[in-house]
């Protein structure tokens, strides 16, 4: 176990600034997820920490020690790569053994270490195979096993589930937290999959364009996304975002959606008349009867039944697309005209120009998307 601190890191490639004055603290034993779209600088960040590339400015401290003059092989890091980066000319055993052969460990100790971690990852039956003869899932597990084999205090996992199929990804998403906890290491985990981020992270750092846009627990980020972009990235199906201009009424601030007033209780009055974007999670919208006061007429376009929920795409009279999600098995319209109602308490309001959050939803959601 160890801590990791990044202080004002800058990394440029020619004129392109990949990391822009980035600072980050990872606590002892914590799993921090770096989440963001490709090109955000996540992989570059991991490589800086690993020591295979050097920052142009700033400091990296591992366990409180500045590692600027410490080469990659002495940093005590385990790393798994997105493309696995297995040694193609070595067997799975030798691949996993590579962090152990670098030490003075005896042959027996190396063999014991490899078998222990291979058993943990359920690949002990393919240890004699070369990477070419391994399935994608086995390759991914071999790469993870190699990262874990040396029991490094700091683990860097660069989107290790990116190149494996959905079923395996689901399995590993369940298995990894237990594995990482057993390892007791401090973990930096890179991913582009918000579900993975939610499932694995003690904290999530949302990155884009070389900066950290928001950092917090998964609940923090889901319930109070710092801006429109983050709100869009977190949540499946994606949050509905509609341009609105809040107005003042007798019951406080309200917005009009298809000429139906949706009141936003507790909203400060300074947003009145400002160009805003309202964010509505698909779970915050329900189907309702035609006669209800808050019923917004829509037309059902398509329905997608997922495992645990049904997602319906509807069109408003003005042609805006809205996603509505409801628990699977509950009744709802399949096609034709219908009505929806919006829960104003569960609405996010963003500033249209800056994109930043004005007010988060009053009703909090858990990371599974259910109202708490």
């Amino acid at each position: 176990m160890t801590t990791l601190q990044l202080k004002n890191i800058v990394k440029r490639y020619k004129t392109n600034t990949v990391l822009d004055n980035l600072s980050l603290d990872v606590a002892d034993g914590e799993t921090l997820v770096l989440f963001g779209p490709s090109g955000a600088g996540k992989t570059v960040l991991l490589r800086l920490v690993a020591g295979v590339i050097d920052p142009d400015e700033g400091q990296i401290l591992i366990g409180g020690e500045d590692v600027a003059d410490i080469d990659a092989e002495y940093r005590g890091i385990g790393m798994a790569f997105q493309n696995f980066a297995l040694f193609p000319h070595m067997s799975a055993f030798d691949n996993i053994a590579s962090p152990l052969t670098a030490t003075n460990a005896t042959k027996d100790a190396i063999s014991a270490g490899v078998h222990k971690v291979a058993k943990l990852l359920k690949i002990d039956h393919v240890l004699s195979h070369h990477p070419k003869a391994l399935s994608n899932g086995q390759k991914q597990r071999t790469a993870l096993a190699r990262a874990l084999a040396g029991s490094p205090p700091l683990l860097l996992l660069d989107d290790p589930l990116r190149n494996v199929d959905a079923k395996l990804r689901f399995e590993m998403r369940l298995e990894l937290p237990r594995l990482l906890a057993a390892q007791g290491a401090t973990v930096v985990y890179v991913t582009q999959d918000y579900k993975e981020a939610m499932a694995l992270g003690d904290r999530i750092a949302v990155m884009s364009q070389g900066r950290i846009r928001q950092i917090g627990t998964p609940e923090d980020i889901y319930n109070a996304p710092a801006d429109i972009e983050i709100a869009r990235l977190f949540g499946d199906p994606t949050i509905n975002l509609l341009d609105v201009t809040p107005k003042s009424g007798p019951d406080g601030v309200y917005v009009e959606l298809s000429n139906v007033k949706v009141s936003l209780p507790g909203m400060p009055s300074d947003v009145i008349g400002k160009a805003c974007v309202i964010g509505l999670r698909p779970e915050a919208i329900v189907f309702t009867e035609a006669g209800a006061v808050d019923a917004i007429p829509v037309k059902v376009e398509a329905e997608t039944p997922l495992n645990e929920k049904t997602v319906t795409l509807v069109l408003t009279a003005r042609g805006r697309e809205i996603l509505v999600s409801r628990p699977a098995g509950t009744p709802g319209p399949v096609s034709g005209p219908a009505h929806i109602a919006v829960n104003g308490k569960a609405a996010f309001l963003f500033d249209k120009d800056s994109g930043s959050l004005i007010r988060s939803a009053a009703t909090q959601m858990t990371r599974n998307g259910e109202a708490a």
Binding site: V52, E73, I77, F81, A85, L86, P88, S98, A102
Partner: protein, 293 residues
């Protein structure tokens, strides 16, 4: 109707097959015939070779090979001493040593060019390649002067040095291209696992570039073996390779075609054997970039 259509298609493909076979045969004959003819010539005397019309029916003789191996060339004007076997030895020594030296120098350099973009690295790499553009004679004339001043003229050391002009750029560029194709992540992974850069070079970079290095070495060997002009200008008889040594067969009493043919057969054999042995690596090494994706 359907049946007839099927039949038409079949005839087309048979025709295509036949045409392809004929085309292939022509190509093979075109390239193989000179070699085959030389092979036949090496077992004939000058008289049967020069007979008109030429014939493939003759009494084979080993006299040409015997003359080469014993070093005694019997011509109409008398017996000449030739140093063919020594030339052959020189060829082997010069080519093997040059390629070995070029590999020792070129492979680490190629790796450096591929992995580390330092200031001027492109320029240095290009300058080395440009040695291959210049006509050898252009380099040779001033070089002859320098070599005489330095006392390198007519030494194996000097020749091997000049042969680097042939071998080094070739190895450098092929190996650099192949090293660039190998994912740097694989090397990073080994570094991070706790191994030094040198161990990474030895255990990861070298084995992965192995087929490419073998291919580059083989090509360099063939080019070095076939070189004529460097040794012609810079070396005297006892240091010359077979390519230059073959000139000895042009004697005052005529050209010894039989001996030339057998000399060619003998001098082609080592490269041919090497190429056949390394064919696998050659194809794999040179197409590495194409198939890896």
């Amino acid at each position: 109707m359907a049946k007839r259509e099927g039949k038409t298609m079949e005839t087309t493909s048979t025709l295509e097959k036949t045409l392809r076979l004929i085309a292939l045969t022509l190509v093979v004959i075109f390239f193989m015939f000179p070699i085959f003819w030389i092979f036949l010539m090496s077992f004939q005397t000058n008289e049967t070779i020069l007979a008109i019309p030429p014939s493939v029916i003759f009494t084979p003789t080993l006299s040409n090979y015997a003359a080469l191996i014993t070093g005694k060339l019997t011509t109409a004007a008398g017996t000449l001493d030739i140093a063919f076997m020594r030339n052959l030895g020189n060829s082997i020594f010069l080519s093997v040593t040059s390629v070995a030296l070029a590999l020792v120098l070129g492979v680490p350099a190629a790796y450096a060019f591929a992995r580390h973009k330092f200031k001027g690295s492109e320029d240095i790499a290009f300058t080395l390649l440009s040695f291959r553009f210049a006509p050898p004679l252009l380099v040779l004339l001033p070089l002859t002067q320098y070599f005489q001043w330095l006392g390198l003229a007519d030494t194996y050391f000097g020749l091997i040095w000049v042969y680097q002009l042939i071998c080094l750029p070739l190895i450098l560029w092929i190996v650099a291209a192949i090293s660039e194709d190998i994912s740097a992540d694989v090397e990073y992974a080994y570094r991070i696992a706790g191994h030094s850069w040198f161990a990474t070079f030895r255990k990861i970079a070298l084995p992965l570039a192995g087929p490419g290095i073998a291919a580059a070495g083989l090509l360099a060997f063939i080019f070095a073996w076939n070189n004529f002009v460097f040794a012609l200008v810079l070396a005297s008889a006892d240091k010359q390779p077979v390519t230059v040594g073959a000139l000895a067969f042009v004697t005052s009493s005529g050209i010894q075609y039989g001996q030339i043919a057998s000399a060619i057969v003998l001098s082609v054999t080592p490269t041919l054997a090497l190429a056949l042995y390394a064919q696998r690596y050659l194809v794999e090494g040179l197409s590495l970039g194409a198939v890896k994706g």
